[in-house]
């Protein structure tokens, strides 16, 4: 594969990760779940969420009043072949437990978490989709007194 083709795939996968953050932050869980293949797995907080139903259930269990913004950077996509790719990315996650109920802007004390993510992608008839996602939280801010 030449670099032009690889670059196009790198862009597509990066867009999927950007959409993942947006749909997570704006609670568009149907759209979020559709970014995964039907048997896609998200290793999240020590639990393996496998398939769209488990993914949606876990997302819908998130507290409605909590406000999050996942700021994604450092997306490095590596194309494996015409139908497979993998990526590493970093996320800074801003969070306020009651943020959705409060007037904006809410007080800020830097990101709550800084994490590293590894993702695997597969080309499907609908476009590139996530087959496996795993995040590791490296930094966590102490609760503010």
């Amino acid at each position: 594969m030449d670099r032009n083709e690889e670059r196009a795939i790198e862009w597509e996968c990066q867009q999927i990760l950007t959409r993942f953050c947006l749909y997570s932050d704006t609670r568009q869980y149907d759209k979020l779940v559709d970014l995964f293949t039907p048997d896609g797995v998200w290793h999240r907080l020590g639990e393996a969420l496998a398939g769209h139903e488990m993914l949606r259930t876990a997302m819908e269990a998130r507290p409605l009043e909590a406000m999050s913004r996942h700021v994604i950077t450092n997306v490095l996509v590596t194309v494996i072949d015409a139908d497979h790719a993998e990526s590493i990315s970093y996320k800074s996650i801003y969070r306020n437990e009651e943020g959705e109920l409060l007037e904006k802007p809410v007080p800020l004390n830097g990101p709550k978490w800084v994490s590293v993510y590894a993702d695997n992608f597969l080309r499907t008839d609908e476009g590139w989709r996530i087959t496996r996602k795993e995040g590791t939280t490296l930094f966590e801010r102490e609760p503010v007194p």
Binding site: R7, N74, I88, G110, P111, L138, F139, E140, R141
Partner: protein, 145 residues
Amino acid sequence: MDRDEKRAIAWECQRILTKFCLFNDRKQSDDLANLFTPDGVWLRLGKSLTGRENISKAMEARPATALHLHLLSNVFVMVTDADQAEVTSYKSIYYDAAGESLDKPIPLNGPKWVSVYTDKFVRTDEGWRIARMEGTTLFEGEPGP
């Protein structure tokens, strides 16, 4: 040169910087050094590191326990001609001197440094490579509790 070609070059240079952050954070010192041209120069902390061996050695000299995460953003690539480009970028660097030996997540107090970089890239037979890198640290966080 048309915009498609310039966009392709911009993408390649941004990808090199993303790799630079990842290899730096993962302590892959030789992989990091190979992102530079053989005679590439990195002006780092008031010292001029010239050539891949010196760059790799300086990376290896960092304490093994230190955990770094270089968050890259604001990558602006100005294509000089078909074989040269100049890139400015920002980095927010999270750091813990003992982080590699600690349980994750480790306490977070915002980025330790916020820096601006100016890098010169050249096209080589291996792809785009860094001919000169210079970073300036604009902000430095207080030591944590």
